[in-house]
């Protein structure tokens, strides 16, 4: 893995490896990102399930597909 470090004041550009501290932070970042993505996917699955349930209930009230779509909107 490479890090590009630019000094805007001098124009100096350094390409180097991660330091030990940066690599440890990167691993923490990756773990936090995985946790965030899993939580977001869970929330999205719950939202889609709730929407489908709501659409079935609206259909049971006699609304047709286009009428339900007009109320609920996009996916």
């Amino acid at each position: 893995m490479n890090v590009l470090e630019i000094n805007a004041a001098t124009g100096e550009v350094i390409e180097r490896d991660f330091t030990v501290e940066e690599l440890a932070q990167r691993e923490l970042d990756a773990a936090a990102e995985a946790e965030r993505v899993a939580a977001a996917e869970q929330a999205e699955a719950e939202r889609v399930a709730a929407r489908e349930s709501a659409m079935l209930k609206l259909a049971a009230l006699g609304l047709n597909e286009s009428e339900v779509a007009a109320i609920v909107g996009g996916v």
């Binding site: 490479n2 890090v3 970042d29 990102e33 996009g74």
Partner: protein, 201 residues
């Protein structure tokens, strides 16, 4: 009409030449103690222009100064995988990694529109990058001002389902003076160009 040569103080000159067919126009020079306009009147001033290849992280030091309050970052890149582009502020060559980053995301993919928010994270997010070309612009407000939070607003165009759009707002919830930033993909690497401009105050 002949050419006009402006000689340097030591050697060389710049020559002003009229066009082959002279238009009807007048160049008015200042009189008395008047001075010609300088770059200070330009709206955007380029501070950084840097390409990068297969970079896991790109850091810029000393780009935020007292010269400008607000900045514009323009990033053209491709990623090794479909990823988020994270963002951290820097001071004296070190990333700020405290849990002070908050961001709001809004995305549109066809008729599907959604939003997410992350509060008190250890990194911000300014966009996404896919394996096809992505265009990202990010405005940065008051990064160098120690009396204010730093905030950003950004938009990215990317090739998910041909074309999709994401917008991000970031707020770093501590009043700190920051002189640089780091961007990095949430995994893999990115290849492209980064330009940073200062908005003239």
């Amino acid at each position: 009409m002949g050419n006009i040569r402006l000689y340097g103080s030591t050697s060389g000159y710049t020559e002003l030449a009229p066009p082959a067919v002279a238009p009807d126009g007048v160049l008015s020079l200042p009189t008395g103690t008047g001075t010609l306009a300088t770059q200070a009147s330009v709206g955007l001033v380029k501070i950084v222009d840097q390409s990068f290849t297969a970079a896991s992280s790109v850091s810029v030091n000393n780009c935020f100064t007292s010269d400008y309050k607000n900045y514009c970052m323009v990033i053209d890149c491709v990623a090794s995988a479909d990823v988020g582009i994270s963002f951290r502020l820097r001071a004296s060559g070190t990333d700020r990694t405290g849990a002070n980053y908050n961001y709001q995301r809004l995305y549109a993919d066809g008729t599907t529109v959604g939003a997410t928010r992350v509060s008190s994270g250890t990194t911000g997010r300014i966009g996404v990058a896919f394996t096809a070309q992505n265009g990202l612009v990010c405005h940065v407000f008051n990064p160098f001002d120690s009396a204010l939070n730093t905030s950003t607003v950004s938009q990215v165009s990317y090739a998910y389902n041909n074309i999709s759009l994401e917008s991000f707002a970031n707020r770093y919830a501590v009043n700190d003076s920051n002189d640089g930033f780091t961007i990095y993909p949430s995994s893999g690497n990115i290849t492209g160009t980064l330009r940073v401009y200062g908005y003239q105050n």
